[in-house]
């Protein structure tokens, strides 16, 4: 069965090669057919593997090596492994990918053929890269996939190449994730050097032998790398601005699969983090902080896609929290469920905004219950699963599993659990706020509801999955080797009440919208939010003066036009995210100052000044050749005098 694995990403890769590199002219139908077809095949291949595995045939973690590289005494093997993690994640990615591609086939059909072809090429390459990350059993294949999905996200965010905002957002995403990737690369290299092998199982076996003094930095670097990709706090600025890409991109990449790549990596390296409790604790705290802050920020959003972006950040915060406290199985289960309902939310939001002339503002969606009934109800189901309404939705089971794990994780369990429940309440509020606004009466914009099988089928499938897959959660956790934690009944009761309270609060906020504006205004002056203005004045203002001095007048103009444009647009994009705005402003100031300082390549100027100095030396020296006989004989006389003095000096001995 394991030997089938390497062929799973091959079809997506072929799709990319056919669409991008073969210089043939293809008609629109052919392009869509090839694009969608190539994306569905991996799902078809993964299903039999999944079924066999559920039957208990794949606990062994069989490993298939694709090729080996001999460098000196090292034989690095590029391999794929068939174990519970890769199967669960593989199936999720493949299935969600296939559904989103079918939807994209319809959603993107009006784009010009050239752009469409580029879109499907990069989506297929992304799918291949993601499957490589998920199925990889060694570091090389993982990092190959890791970087490919990063690059594809750049190309897909910047799909609308004519819009400078989209291109700037794409660059910001790539640069920020690249910073995290280099940290990850450093961590993986140190791990490779410490354990001597590139295979994951070999590395995890060797973890015990590494002394703590080495293990901490390795784990820290890998954690930062993983969290960077999953848009956690220090690296989160790129995710909201990545919404500039088309909706299927946001649905597949920036909600379900790519941002969760960090979580998958942490799950695979769980034994490593188990061996370093301090780092796991930091990861847990970071996860929780992201969950809380992102939920709060989501509440303040006025754009549905940005709201969903912040909600993705907070859900991944939950997964990272579960990982931090040592429950990888629960995190993996929540990843699977989250992928389903978050892509459902994005797709349905896409259709609703399509119905409102493409405007993704929440107010614009008002009244779409009548205009796009199918999209509205699927969005409602998705929101329910996101909020985690008890018993009915799958979201509740996976959230309960995680909260249970948090509660039963040592002495800090209870306060962590309480904060997590507060976050769950907030989640309920912001998800249902959109539903209630959409359900309200609004101007019917007389646009034909968007129907068609290619749109209908994915939505219904995802909705069914969002509801029924709850029962699989326990099986999933046991399948991954985790033990579903038994909760005292009080905790389950409170866990169930939280989402309902959230929904009630949402209802209240929709009825009295001015409450929300006061909250937004109040928050802006609260102590917790004023730190960003202090942060802004001290750091950015000081920095601007320094960069003026360093760059000097000359340096500025050369790159002004290029760097001037993005900072303003990008900052506006991130409405309501104070820390992000400060970070972005200082980053662009730094880049402009450093690059400007070196722009006229000071060393080159140095050499040129040296050459000119030689020329000036010649001007002076050649004037001593006056041409007059008297001066030239003076040269002669000085020569005689010099030699005689020298002779007189040396003749003493």
């Amino acid at each position: 069965m394991a030997s089938l694995l390497p062929f799973v990403p091959v079809s997506a890769l072929l799709g990319f090669v056919l669409l991008a590199l073969v210089p043939l002219r293809l008609r629109r139908g052919v392009v869509i057919g090839v694009g969608v077809g190539a994306a569905i095949v991996p799902a078809l291949l993964m299903l039999p593997v999944g079924i066999v595995c559920v039957g208990g045939a794949c606990e062994t973690g069989a490993v298939v090596t694709i090729l080996t590289i001999h460098v000196g005494q090292l034989a690095a093997q590029i391999a794929m492994s068939l174990d519970p993690l890769s199967v669960v994640a593989g199936i999720t990615v493949a299935v969600v990918g296939a559904l989103v591609m079918i939807y994209a086939g319809a959603y993107m059909s009006e784009e010009p053929v050239g752009d469409l072809r580029r879109f499907f090429a990069y989506m297929n390459l992304f799918l291949a890269g993601m499957l490589a990350v998920v199925l990889a059993a060694d570091v090389l294949l993982l990092f190959l996939g890791w970087e490919t999905i990063g690059l594809c996200s750049f190309f897909l965010i910047a799909y609308y190449t004519k819009r400078p905002k989209a291109v700037a957002a794409g660059t910001k995403a790539l640069v920020t994730t690249r910073v995290a990737d280099t940290m990850l690369l450093a961590g993986l290299m140190l791990l490779f050097l410490a354990t001597g092998t590139t295979r994951f199982d070999g590395m995890l076996a060797g973890v015990g032998s590494i002394d703590a003094w080495h293990l901490a930095p390795i784990a820290g670097l890998i954690a930062i790398g993983a969290l960077g990709k999953s848009a956690q706090i220090p690296f989160h600025t790129w995710l909201p601005s990545a919404m500039a890409g088309p909706t299927p991109v946001s649905a597949l990449l920036h909600s379900a699969t790519m941002v969760a790549a960090g979580v998958i990596l942490l799950v695979r390296l769980a034994p490593l983090f188990a061996a370093v409790p301090e780092i796991s604790a930091c990861v847990a705290v970071l996860g929780l902080a992201t969950a809380m802050l992102a939920a709060l920020a989501a509440l303040l959003q006025t754009d549905v896609k940005k709201l969903l972006a912040f909600s993705t950040m907070s859900q991944i915060g939950f997964m990272v929290l579960a990982l931090g406290i040592g429950a990888p199985a629960a995190a993996l289960a929540h990843f699977a469920i989250h992928a389903v309902f978050k892509s459902l939310l994005f797709l349905s939001a896409g259709i609703m905004s399509h119905g409102a002339h493409g405007d993704t503002g929440i107010e614009a969606l008002r009244g779409s219950r009548r205009r796009q009934p199918l999209a509205f109800w699927t969005f409602a189901i998705g929101a329910a699963a996101l909020a985690g309404l008890p018993l009915v939705t799958a979201g509740w089971y996976s959230k309960e599993a995680m909260l249970g794990a948090v509660l039963s994780s040592g002495l800090w369990g209870v306060p962590l659990w309480a904060l997590a429940v507060a976050a769950v309440v907030l989640t309920g509020t912001y998800s249902f706020r959109v539903v209630f606004v959409a359900a309200g009466r609004g101007p019917d914009k007389s646009i034909a509801p968007w129907e068609g099988l290619a749109v209908w089928a994915p939505l219904v499938a995802l909705a069914v999955l969002a509801v029924l897959s709850g029962f699989l959660v326990d099986a999933l956790i046991r399948f991954d080797g985790g033990t579903p934690s038994e909760l005292p009944w009080i905790a389950t009761l409170l866990g169930a009440a939280a989402p309902l309270a959230g929904v009630a609060l949402a209802r209240h906020l929709v009825v009295y919208p001015q409450l929300l504006d006061q909250l937004r205004a109040k928050l802006r002056h609260r102590k917790v939010f004023r730190i960003d203005s202090l942060y802004y004045f001290i750091l950015v203002r000081g920095f601007r003066k320094l960069s003026q001095v360093m760059a000097g007048p000359g340096g500025e103009q050369a790159i002004a036009p290029v760097l001037e444009a993005p900072p303003i647009d990008v900052v506006k994009l991130v409405a309501g995210d104070p820390i992000g705005r400060a970070l972005v402003a200082s980053a662009t100031r730094l880049v402009k100052a450093v690059v400007a300082a070196f722009d006229p390549d000071r060393i080159d100027l140095l050499w040129m000044r040296f050459a000119r100095a030689l020329g000036r030396a010649w001007e002076h020296v050649h004037r001593i050749q006056t041409g007059r006989v008297r001066d030239q004989s003076l040269g002669l006389a000085l020569g005689f005098a010099g030699l005689l003095l020298f002779a007189w000096g040396t003749s003493w001995r």
Binding site: H622, G635, L636, F640, F646, A647, T650, S651
Partner: protein, 456 residues
């Protein structure tokens, strides 16, 4: 005088007879060609005789003239490149006496290379100087007169200094032949200093170099070639002989020579950096090359004489080719005049460029191996400062040589070169062949030099 002694002196005799006949013919015949032919035959016969005597054991002629490998190489060298200079010494309205003077210069050089005694040293030097003064003045243009007058005054002073030096040494040691110069008194040291000054003037080393650029610019190119190639080689060989035979006070002689050499490398290269005028640039480059040769002489490394003779062998065809080509471009060819020469006159352009390449020391031409000898001598004698100065000089030199080297190939609009004489074409091809031959197969020159040196 035994037959062997006569045979030893025969090349000098040939040169002298050639000169005298050329002088006699000048007033008698109308055409200037007769004198040229006489001088040319004299030079050719001398060169042939020298090459024929290659294998003959040295004949003891007495103190005045020593007949050894150095003298033979010097005489052949002087005759050959005297002939080359005669070929392109063609200036409008030149008097018919010029060929005789060329033969006299060659005779002076030959006697200087064989000099073992102060008298022949003095005679050789003066023969060269006086004939050059007259040769410089021949075009009778303002510049030529100026060049020859300056050379006259300064060579007079230098000769006076050199004579005073010899007199002081004679006073101290009581001997006028080189082997007899042994001693360590103050007079001996002062005398050596003045002798070194006199020789350095003819060798155009740094503080005494002022006459060379003016001579190269003002005088006819043939005369400049004689001064740059024939007289410099003779003086170098004389210094080589002094090094080996006379025990001159050591710290003074070699350190003085090294200092003068280093100074002239720096002065020659820096002053030539932005020169626009080709002959003047060549003048400064000869100063630089005398500096390099002086460095080799001063280093005292084991293979000095082989290095010096090899360097002279490489240096001569290069300078002759460049001077001949510049003669063809008119009285004062500038850098702009060279533009587009490659299209109009490929032979001149390539020979000029290859000559400059060899002077610069780039791998394709002979100059590269010459620079190897220089570096080898400096490294073996551990004189690191000289090595550094030589490298800086080479680097600076690189800049101005390449400016003139690339000019013929780019752009267009240079001046129209003068019509070419038959012999000039032959000379250019001969020099071009020599440079490329020594570049790719330096063994030819090395064996010639070593066989010459083998004759002790």
């Amino acid at each position: 005088m035994t037959a062997a002694q006569l045979f030893a002196l025969s090349p000098l005799a040939a040169l002298a007879i050639g000169a005298v006949i050329a002088m006699l013919l000048a007033p008698v015949t109308q055409s200037a060609a007769a004198a040229r032919i006489a001088a040319a035959t004299g030079l050719a016969v001398a060169a042939l005789l020298e090459i024929l005597r290659a294998g003959v054991p040295p004949a003891p002629i007495g103190a005045l003239f020593t007949d050894d490998g150095l003298a033979r190489y010097g005489t052949a060298y002087a005759a050959l490149f005297g002939l080359a200079a005669l070929v392109f010494l063609r200036v409008a309205g030149v008097a018919k006496e010029a060929p005789a003077l060329v033969a006299l210069v060659a005779l002076g050089a030959a006697s200087l290379t064989g000099a073992g005694h102060a008298a022949t040293l003095f005679l050789g030097l003066e023969l060269i100087s006086l004939s050059l003064i007259a040769l410089f003045a021949f075009p009778l243009t303002g510049m030529a007169l100026e060049a020859s007058y300056k050379f006259l005054v300064m060579s007079g002073l230098a000769t006076a200094a050199q004579l005073l030096g010899v007199a002081l040494i004679y006073a101290e040691t009581g001997a006028l032949d080189f082997p007899g110069w042994v001693g360590h008194g103050p007079l001996f040291a002062l005398g050596t200093a003045l002798l070194l000054a006199g020789l350095a003037f003819k060798f155009s080393l740094a503080p005494f170099h002022m006459w060379t650029p003016d001579a190269f610019q003002g005088a006819p190119a043939g005369a400049a070639a004689l001064a740059g190639v024939v007289s410099k080689a003779a003086v170098a060989i004389a210094i080589l002989r002094l090094n080996s035979e006379a025990q001159l006070p050591q710290p003074l002689w070699s350190a003085g020579l090294a200092t003068l050499g280093a100074a002239s490398v720096l002065v020659g290269n820096v002053l030539a950096l932005r020169q626009q005028l080709l002959p003047r640039m060549l003048g400064y480059s000869t100063i630089a090359h005398s500096g390099y040769i002086a460095m080799i002489l001063a280093s005292g490394a084991p293979g000095t004489s082989e290095a010096v003779l090899f360097y002279l062998g490489i240096y001569a065809p290069a300078l002759t080719a460049t001077l001949c080509a510049s003669a063809m471009l008119g009285p004062a060819p500038m850098l702009e005049d060279l533009r587009g020469l490659a299209r109009k006159r490929p032979l001149e352009a390539t020979s000029l460029s290859v000559g400059l390449l060899s002077l610069a020391g780039l791998p394709v031409a002979g100059g590269f191996v010459a620079k190897l000898y220089l570096f080898k001598a400096l490294v073996q004698s551990e004189s690191w400062i000289l090595l550094a100065i030589a490298m800086v000089g080479a680097a600076l030199g690189f800049y101005y040589y390449i400016r003139f080297f690339t000019a013929p190939f780019f752009g267009h609009g240079g001046i129209e070169p003068a019509p070419r004489h038959r012999f000039d074409r032959l000379l250019l091809i001969f020099c071009f062949g020599l440079i490329m031959l020594f570049g790719f197969e330096p063994l030819v020159l090395i064996t010639a030099v070593n066989s010459a040196l083998a004759v002790r």
